[in-house]
Structure formats: C-alpha cells, structure tokens
C-alpha cells in the first residue's frame, strides 16, 4: 500500500461512464423504449387503512386500448404466517406492498395496475376500476399506533402476549446498566423525536419489462441490484430466475431506496398478460406517497459519566416506524448508536412499529442517524455538564482496537481515535466563531458496512486492452475506482481498462449496491480475477520463451524473466501476449465469485457551524467539515463526494426535511416544492478530511465510505443550533417555526 509506488490507486481519474453522463447519452431506466411497448399505471388506495372486499376490473378491461389489468391475484400468494426472507426483505411484505391483497395499508398503496396503449388511457382505465373498501380506523404516527385501542394492521403481531402494532424487538446488552449508572457522577436522560425523511433520489422508479410467449423475460430498470430485481420478480410471478434477464440501467440515485422493487414484478405480470413490452414510470408524487422514506422515530437516551469524563453506562430505547409492513431499521438505531464508544454497561433496545404509512426502505446507514441523533445530543450535554470539550470527551471514550462493540464484534483495526484527533487538530475546530447567534456542534457516527456476494470477470481483448465486468449498479462513480485498481494490478494505463456492469445473464450473482459494500467487495473479486489473469499472462510468456512459468514475473504491465539465469528474453507487454493468445492457449481472462468478509465498520466525525436568525428562526450553515476513516481512498474525488453528499443529506434531515401528513392520513407534501431538500444556495462549501487507516482484511485497504458520513449529521447540526442559542432541541426538524417557537418560549420563561 505504498502510496508512492501507486500509479493509479489514489488518483483522480476520469470515470469510464463520464462522457455519456455529461452529454445526456447515458441511458437511465425511463430512457428506454421498445417496439410495441405499452404503458402501465397504478391505481392507489384513497384510504390509509381499509379491507379490500372486492375489485371489479371489468369496466377498465373494456376500455379501448387497455391490454391488461393486474391485481394481487396475479401474484404468487405468500400466506401471512409463513416467512419467505430474501436478503433483507420478506416476500410476504414485498408482494403485498407491490399490490395490496387483503387490505390497503396506507394512502397510496397500489391496488391494481393497468397496461394500455397510452399513458392517458391507462390512467383513465384506473379510474374505471371499482374497489369495494371497508374503511378502517388508522394510525400514522408511532404514539397513535401504540395506543391500546389503536387499529391493528395485522392479526399476527403480538407484544407481551397482546395484539400490538409492535412487530419486533431487538436488544443489545453489555455489562450491568444499573451498576453502571450507580457509579456515575453525571446522568443525562433525554427524549427525542425524528420525522420520516425520504431518500430523495432525483430519478423516479422506472422499468420496461418484456415477457415473451416462451416466458423469457427481459427487465430494464434502475435499481440498486439487478439480482434483487430478478429474485423478487421470480418469486412474485413464478417465472424461474433462469428465464429472467434483469439489465441494470444507469441509476439516478438510490441511497437505499432502490434496494427493493415497486414496479418490475407488476410490469412482468402485465407484459405476460398482454403479450407486449410494458413500461412503467412513477411520478414524483407517487415516489413521495408510496416508496420508502426512512422511519420516523421516538427515543429515550440516558448516559452516565464520571466527573473525569469516563462514560460508565448508556441506555437507549428506540421506537422506529416501519410503515405498512414490519421491518424498520432498528438494528441500525439500536446497534450503531453506542458502538463508537467504550462503555462498560449498555442496554440498547429497538422496537419495530407498524403504522398506516408507506413501507420504509433503506436510507443510507438505515437507522443509524436516528440512534446517533439521540446519543450524540446527550453526549453533548454530558460534556457540558462536566465542563469538558465535546470532542475530548468523545476521544477519551472512543472505541479502539480490541474494544468489544455492544452488538458483539471486537474491533481489530479501526481509525476512530485518529479521526477524532484529526478533527481536534483541524483548522475548522481551532477557528473561533465570530457572531452573536453562532454555534458549533460536533457528533460522531458509525455504520456496520457490509461484505457479501460479488462476482467479477476480467477479460483481455485481442488488442491487449482490459474489460472488467462486475455486478453492482454504479451509483456514485464506483467504475472509476474499479478501473484504478485494475490498472494498478495489471500495470496498464487506466484508459485501457473498461468497466461494465453486467446483467443477470452475463455476470455471476452479486448482492446489492448498498451497505457501503460495492468497492469493498468488487475490489476483492476484481483483485482475485486480475491475479488469475496475471498468472495466465506469465504462463503465456513462459510458453513463448520456452521456460517455466515460475521463472516469469509480471511488472509494470510486462512479463520478464525473473533473473538472468532463466534466460535473456526481451520483455513482453500485455498487448504482445494478447496478440499471440490463440497460439499460446486461447482467450485470456478470469473470473471470481466470493462471499466477501472483513468489511470493517465506517466511522465519521462532523463539525458544524451555524448562525440563527433569532427573529425568523432560520438556521444558516456557515461551515461544515466531515472527517472520516476511509480506509484507503482508491479515488479520492468520489470518496470526498460521498462525504459531501452525506453532509448535505444530514443537514436536510436536521433542518427542513419531513413528511407532513394531513388529517386524512395522506402525505401532504409529496413534491420537491414542499419536501424541502437542500438546494444549492442553502449550503456552504463542504470540507472533507480523509483519514486513511487501511482495512487489513482488504487487498487495497478499502473500507466502505458511503453511509457513515450521513450518520452524525442530524446530531451535529442540532448540537450547533443548541450551542448557538443556549436552548437544547430534541425534536427534528429544526424548521424555522420550531426554532422560533423555542426561542419565544425561552424568552417568556426568562421573563417570568
């Protein structure tokens, strides 16, 4: 890993897919069309909770131009009492989320779908579908769903032996918290709430699906995993996976929200029924109403510390909205929040709460920003209570190599301390705030990071160039990093390496683009493939020279004899060997398929400066720095990009993003106008400090970098605002109305 000797790793190369993306040629899912293609639209529930007594599609089917209508009856039935887990999802829920079966569970829940010769006809036909609903009481918010008399979404979910909307519980325990708190000089306990926020990808979900008369099925769609699309489509339609070819289109953002399907199995059913290719594109409103935002939450966090700043006990209780089906990210909230610290006594509990809003989907370090929000805000108060610098308090207690995390594993080679030290030493942290209502906040965040299944194929072309195929949709520039690694390993020029994302028929199984796993895992399979290719190249050179392959070395993209005693041959370049491949044994290329392990967790520290307009309640972010242990930055620009994107999403979550529901249980702000993600003029330049503590379990030292930089964001911003005003905030978002109300309440209190 000697940087000096690296020619391509660590370089800011131009991404292989770049020219297509700056010229408008890159084909995203909605850009595809096919001869004979028809369009499908979805009829959605007008009620947040209702029994579906019957669906009459006859009038819709009779409308000229309508080619097929689908309801849940067209899907494979997965009975509610038999779990069918696929990856992190359960087909019972996925099936019912795509087309409601027994009940409509949220406003906007798909009820039926129509394919017709035009979008207008499909939309018109949806209106002709008659649904017999028995409207039921409903609950959107956690508190409402947990009331004893709340309407229950499911009959089979029980808690403490009673029917309940609590669908699951997770507990992490270490030591004895009662004993821990007994030792504490300072105990801070606070309750917090966060609102549901959407991943906010700019590209709505879209697909085109063609099912031939023989059942052979081709899917073009944008997703975070073509193999996930294939599996879910297969399970829900009954078409065998071998008959499905899922082709990954370029993807216009996902952030976790495209790790599940909404459209492809529906389009497959409609295509099978109609005999025509079917295209579906969601509107922005449909995205906001019916695709997964992350959970809203309520939580209580209690932390005990000694006067010297030693943390002795931590307790967290986290309730997360799952939406219409079980499966909120309690693992991230309860599992990640205390993990950065060495605390001897911890009890962290998560509850999965179903309610009548759309099913949550993963969002960048799912659950972790929620848990970190509570813990990092309380830590700030602990630091204040004992008069300690908030970063020094964290550094004193930080997990180090050998620390056993509350959720189980023992850390082996982590850069938490180095990251906080870099933050403390940063110019930003040393700088002074200059204005009256300015404040600074800090926070840490940790995310598991994932390994898992990946496949790669590295082929040498006849003209001596390199084609790499992997199986993960490239959302943020991963092709560039894969090309850097390949060029480095083979010793060839970066521009001679092409990187392709294979479809399900052309590359082996590869798990999702998610969990910050893509470069970690694909670098491992690409490395193994490249090493195999190098062995082949050495063998071919040996054959040409008539010597033993063990006497050949590969250096700087050339084969040469290992020493003078092996013979005096001129070196052979990759191109020269490739040109003679036919006569030396045929095509040169190799693949690798692994279930990768060793993805060490990701850790980030944020420093945020804000200024509050105390008459309007508006918060301006003045300066922001993300410091992250990035393992090894294979392509620094795209690592910085992940850090900056995470910062921006954290600021949005903290300040203005939230789902607003009206009195009928409908999303009241299903547009980019009223769902307020940060715009360009809202943000300052976003500073990054990459701390490189290589992951010893990875050939290039890679750690996942994509998710950790969101985790500290909401807490860092909240701590900054609290610091600016001397008022602690516990509920997100810190919208102008909420901030001004707190200022006014505080002034009133002071006056009394």
């Amino acid at each position: 890993m000697n940087d000096q000797s690296n020619k391509w790793i660590g370089k800011r190369t131009i991404r292989p897919d770049g020219v297509d993306k700056v010229t408008g040629r890159a084909a995203y899912a909605a850009d595809n069309s096919m001869p004979g293609m028809i369009w499908a639209k979805v009829l959605r529930s007008p009620h947040p909770h209702a029994v579906i007594r019957g669906i009459d599609t006859s009038k819709a089917e009779a409308l000229p131009g309508v080619k097929a209508v689908a309801t849940a009856k067209d899907f494979v039935d997965f009975p509610l009492d038999k779990p069918v887990p696929i990856g992190i999802q359960d087909m019972r829920w996925m099936s019912r989320n795509m087309l409601a079966r027994e009940k409509a569970l949220f406003h906007g829940h798909p009820i039926a779908a129509v394919a017709a010769t035009s979008q207008d006809i499909a939309a018109e036909a949806c209106k002709l579908i008659e649904v017999d609903y028995e409207v039921l009481p409903w609950a959107v918010e956690i508190d409402d769903a947990l009331k004893p008399d709340a309407a229950k979404l499911f009959d089979f979910t029980e808690f403490d032996g009673k029917p309940s909307n609590i669908a699951g519980k997770l507990e992490h325990k270490k030591g004895d918290i009662d004993a821990g708190f007994a030792e504490a000089d300072v105990i801070i306990e606070r309750s917090f709430t966060t609102r549901p926020v959407h991943q906010g990808y700019i590209e709505p979900h879209a697909c085109t699906v063609s099912v031939g008369a023989d059942g052979s099925t081709t899917i073009w769609s944008s997703s975070q995993g073509q193999f996930m699309v294939r599996a879910m489509t297969s399970f829900l339609t009954g078409i065998p996976q071998s008959s499905i070819r899922a082709i990954p289109a370029e993807i216009g953002g996902g952030f976790g929200g495209k790790t599940i399907c909404y459209l492809e199995p529906v389009a497959a059913v409609l295509s099978r029924k109609s005999g025509r290719p079917v295209k579906m594109v969601m509107s922005r409103e449909e995205v906001m109403r019916a695709t997964g935002p992350t959970s809203g939450s309520k939580m209580t966090v209690k932390i005990g510390a000694k006067k010297d700043g030693t943390l002795v006990a931590g307790q967290g209780v986290f309730y997360l909205q799952a939406g219409a089906f079980p499966g909120s990210p309690i693992r991230g909230a309860a599992g990640c929040s205390f993990t950065p610290y060495t605390i001897p006594n911890v009890l962290s509990t998560g509850y999965d709460v179903v309610s009548n809003r759309s099913k949550v989907a993963a969002y960048r370090a799912p659950g972790a920003p929620i848990g970190a929000y509570g813990v990092e805000c309380v830590l700030d108060e602990v630091a204040q209570a004992i008069g300690m610098d908030p970063l020094e308090l964290r550094l004193k207690n930080i997990a180090r190599d050998g620390t056993k995390a509350v959720h189980g594993p023992v850390f082996q080679s982590i850069g938490f301390a180095q990251t906080i030290e870099a933050a403390i030493k940063s110019e930003h942290y040393k700088s002074k705030l200059t204005g009256k209502f300015q404040g600074r906040g800090v926070a840490n965040g940790w995310w598991f990071n994932a390994g898992g299944e990946s496949s790669a194929q590295v082929n040498i072309t006849e003209d001596g160039n390199v084609v790499v195929t992997t199986g993960h949709p490239d959302i943020g520039g991963s092709r560039a990093s894969i090309a850097n690694i390949t060029a480095e390993l083979l010793g060839v020029d970066y521009n001679r390496v092409s990187v392709l994302i294979g479809d399900t028929a052309t590359i082996g199984y590869s798990n999702l683009t998610g969990g910050s796993r893509v470069l970690f895992a694909s670098a491992m399979v690409v490395t193994e493939s490249a090493e195999k290719v190098i062995e082949q190249l050495k063998q071919r050179a040996a054959k040409l020279w008539g010597i033993d392959a063990s006497a050949v070395v590969w250096e700087n993209g050339e084969a040469r004899p290992s020493g003078q005693h092996t013979g005096n041959f001129p070196t052979l370049t990759l191109a020269e060997i490739a040109a003679k491949a036919t006569e030396t044994g045929g095509p040169i290329g190799a693949g690798s398929q692994q279930n990768t392990t060793g993805a060490e967790g990701g850790f980030a520290t944020h420093i945020c400066d804000v200024e509050v307009d105390v008459e309007l309640g508006t918060v301006t972010v003045l300066r922001y720095t993300c410091i992250e242990d990035v393992g090894k930055a294979i392509h620094p620009s795209y690592v910085e990009g992940q850090m900056q994107g995470g910062i921006a999403q954290g600021i949005g979550w903290a300040l203005n993003e939230e789902y607003v529901f009206d009195k009928q249980g409908r999303v009241d702000n299903p547009s980019f106008l009223d769902y307020r993600m940060p715009v360009c003029s809202d943000l300052p330049m976003l500073e990054t400090i990459m701390v490189e503590v290589p992951n010893p379990k990875h050939p290039q030292g890679v750690r996942g970098v994509g998710e950790a930089p969101l985790v500290p964001g909401p807490a860092a911003v909240c701590n900054a605002v609290s610091n600016a005003l001397g008022i602690r905030f516990h509920d997100l978002p810190l919208s102008p109305m909420r901030v001004l109300a707190a200022i006014d309440a505080n002034m009133k209190q002071a006056a009394e």
Binding site: R12, I14, R15, D17, G18, V19, K21, V22, T23, G24, R25, A26, A27, Y28, A30, D31, Q199, G200, Y201, I202, E203, P204, E250, I251, G252, G253, G254, F255, V281, S283, R284, I475, G476, G477, H635, S637, Y638, E640, G641, Q644, G645, G646, I647, A648, Q649, S671, F672, L673, M677, P678, V679, C680, S681, L683, M685, L686
Partner: protein
Amino acid sequence: MAKIHVTTTINGEPTEFLCDPAESMLDALRGPLALTGAKEGCGTGDCGACSITLDGRLVCSCLMLAAEAEGHEITTIEGMAEGDHLHPLQQKFLEMAALQCGICTPGVLVAAKSLLERNPDPSEIEVRYWLAGNLCRCTGYDKIVRAVMETAADMREAAR
C-alpha cells in the same frame, strides 16, 4: 383530437414534429424527438433536471408546451458538445468529479452554461443562486459549484 404540427429548431437543426396540444416540451423531447438527455425528476419545475434553453433563455421543459416551440430555437444537453469536442463545463465536470449518479447532470450543465454566457465571472453566491433550481441529491453541490467557477476562470483566461 388533432395533433399539432410544430416547426422549430433543436440544437441548430431545423426540426418538425407532431404533438398533442397539452403535451409538454419534455415529453416531446423524450418521446417523438428521442432526445432523452433532459430528465423528468418531478414534472413540476422543482428539480431542473429537464432544463433546456428556449431562444437562449434557460427554462424547464416540463413547464413548457411542446406546441410553444413553434418558430423558436431550442437547445438541449445533446447540443452542448461540438462533435466529439466537449464543452469546457462538461470536461471540467469530469475532471472534478462534479457528478455522482449523473441524473441531474444534464440539467445542471445546461443551466451552468446559460449562467456563464451571461456572467463570465460569477461569484460563488451567484453560482449557488443561479443553480438553486437544479436539485442534486448526491454531491452536496460542492464540486458542482467549484467546477462551474473553475470553468469560468478557464474560459476567461482563454478569451484573453
């Protein structure tokens, strides 16, 4: 319902097409005209991914009827590079990694080009407010703003 025949100029090429009276320019571009570089992120003028210019003025093609193109000049992202010669903004976006997923990129580039045509030396604030209608969820805008400002500096230098 009769379709409307529209005669217009797109990326310098005289172009004719048919559209429904209520069809948006974006739908016409992405449909019959097969110019899918302009993207639909919202369809309501809130994301800027469908940005084009109409007689040199930056607009959202989702907020314009296709029929309104009659007699006017339209440019899209597909008209930004000259042959295989990228516009300096396109080149700079690649060099500075000012895109991640790339879905907002066509709109951002069209908007940024329109800015530099009017203001060759924009301040950071001017760039940020000009691009406020171009949502990007990946980058936090940092590298986009830097790339626009560096391109502006390069173009000023080249114009000397």
